[in-house]
């Protein structure tokens, strides 16, 4: 399925849109990490929880559930808010 990568993480992928496989959001992120080692840890912490201010949208609908089932026709959008100061 298509996965749209936010700008701060394109240093891993080299491009905005990549392909990944998985039957759930969690599995898709694992596949992304297989292709681009280290990318998952920037979004999901070592206890398996979403980091604050990262947002996942499946077909335009936000989800907070990493176990959400996905199929190959789905599109995942990752959005990253950047705090600063």
């Amino acid at each position: 399925m298509n996965v749209l990568i936010p700008a701060p993480l394109r240093s891993y992928t080299g491009r905005r849109q990549v392909e990944a496989i998985g039957s759930s959001l969690a599995a898709v992120l694992v596949d992304l990490d297989r292709q681009y080692p280290g990318i998952r840890f920037r979004m999901i912490n070592e206890q398996g929880r979403m980091r604050p201010h990262v947002r996942f949208f499946v077909n335009g609908v936000q989800t907070l559930d990493l176990s959400q089932p996905l199929c190959s026709a789905d599109e995942v959008l990752i959005v990253q808010a950047l705090s600063g100061g």
């Binding site: 280290g38 999901i44 912490n45 070592e46 398996g48 980091r51 990262v54």
Partner: protein, 371 residues
């Protein structure tokens, strides 16, 4: 090469052999919080940068071409997954990087916030937790919680590898004290005797110990100096007791500060950069008058080293990692301020000149010798 880590990116400053003229190379990772930037002394080529950006998880950037290109770690420092799921610790950022022993090419150590110790054996590409430290229940008690730490969280810092023995390590924690391992991190023992804590707290409880920076003398690895929240100390192993050597500092200045720098060849010489630790702890230069202080006799006496620095109205803070020495003769010194100024001395602190200004808040300054 002087390596500058800042709140908004990293810079490399390349100096000529006279250390008079400096060329700025940067910013690297503009906008990223870079806590530490270190050049591997074993190959003079591998650069590691401990970085974090906004709410993105932390990572370590690695370069082997002096910053022309960088790659994120494939597996950055991360605590082990807790079987209970919800209660496991999470690395907020890597705070400190130390190259491993000269005999262990590609080995590195990382200290994190909250306090954790990690090791890489592939030049920083992947990192493993040192469970003998991270899962030690007594150490975890002494670490306290994030409630007990610095504004950016409690930190593990001052990772020291004995140059004589790769399995002999020291670390320090902003909450939790100074600890030693003689088996490459499998077991640990506190080195806390003689250290004072904030008045009213129990000095036998390591949770109240707040070492700011600990350095081992390359010319005498049995001697260490420490800038602590409560004074300047020296220890000569095999003694386990620290001696407070800061009481001979001028009373109006005191012996509170963040950084500690030791001479590469003379174990009697060390430099500090005092800060105001009175009342609400401004942490700025006492009286708005910045100065380094040097001892050349192991702390018996201290001399002010401030020629060239502003004489007044300079309310600087120099963080614990933001002062360093090179290995030249005479020794060059470098420090960076939270107001974005980088200063150097080519004569061991006798005279200072500004190398750079208008940088972002400087978190760390290191010196490296490109190979």
């Amino acid at each position: 090469m002087v390596l500058i880590a800042t709140r908004k990116g990293a810079w490399l400053y390349h100096g000529d052999t006279a250390r008079k003229n400096w060329r700025a190379d940067g910013p690297h990772f503009l906008g990223h919080i870079v806590n530490h930037l270190v050049l591997d002394p074993r190959d003079g080529r591998t650069l590691l940068a401990a970085a974090k950006t906004g709410h993105l998880g932390p990572t370590i950037f690695r370069s082997t071409d002096f910053g022309r290109s960088w790659k994120e770690a494939a597996r950055p420092p991360a605590f082990a997954k807790d079987p209970n799921g919800e209660t496991g610790r999470v690395v907020d950022h890597t705070f400190w990087l130390t190259p491993g022993h000269a005999s262990e090419a590609n080995a590195w150590y990382a200290g994190t916030s909250p306090q954790g110790l990690f090791r890489s054996e592939d030049g920083g590409v992947t990192w493993e937790p040192i469970s003998g430290f991270n899962e030690n229940l007594q150490l975890r008690k002494w670490m306290g919680t994030v409630q007990d730490g610095t504004p950016d969280g409690p930190k593990l810092h001052s990772i020291i590898v004995d140059p004589r023995d790769p399995i002999h390590l020291y670390i320090a924690m902003s909450g939790g004290g100074v600890h030693e391992s003689v088996d490459r991190g499998r077991t640990w023992k506190p080195i806390a005797a003689g250290l004072e804590v904030v008045e009213g707290l129990d000095s036998t409880n390591l949770a109240f110990h707040d070492p700011h920076c600990v350095r081992l003398c390359p010319s005498n690895p049995d001697r260490l100096y420490q800038q602590n929240h409560c004074g300047i100390y020296r220890i000569d192993r095999p003694s386990d007791k620290w001696e407070r050597i800061g009481r001979t500092m001028p009373r109006r200045v005191g012996d509170i500060g963040f950084p500690m720098v030791v001479h590469p060849r003379d174990a009697d010489t060390a430099w500090v950069f005092p800060m105001d630790g009175s009342t609400v702890w401004p942490r700025t230069c006492p009286g708005g008058t910045p100065a380094a202080y040097v001892t050349r006799n192991g702390g018996k006496t201290w001399q002010r080293a401030a020629s060239g620095l502003p004489e007044r109205h300079a309310w600087w803070t120099v963080k614990r990692q933001a002062m360093a020495a090179d290995g030249s003769d005479p020794v060059g010194l470098y420090f960076g301020t939270t107001s974005g100024e980088l200063w150097s001395s080519r004569d061991e602190g006798r005279k200072w000149t500004r190398i750079a200004e208008h940088l972002p808040e400087i978190y760390a300054v290191e010196v490296g010798k490109p190979g």
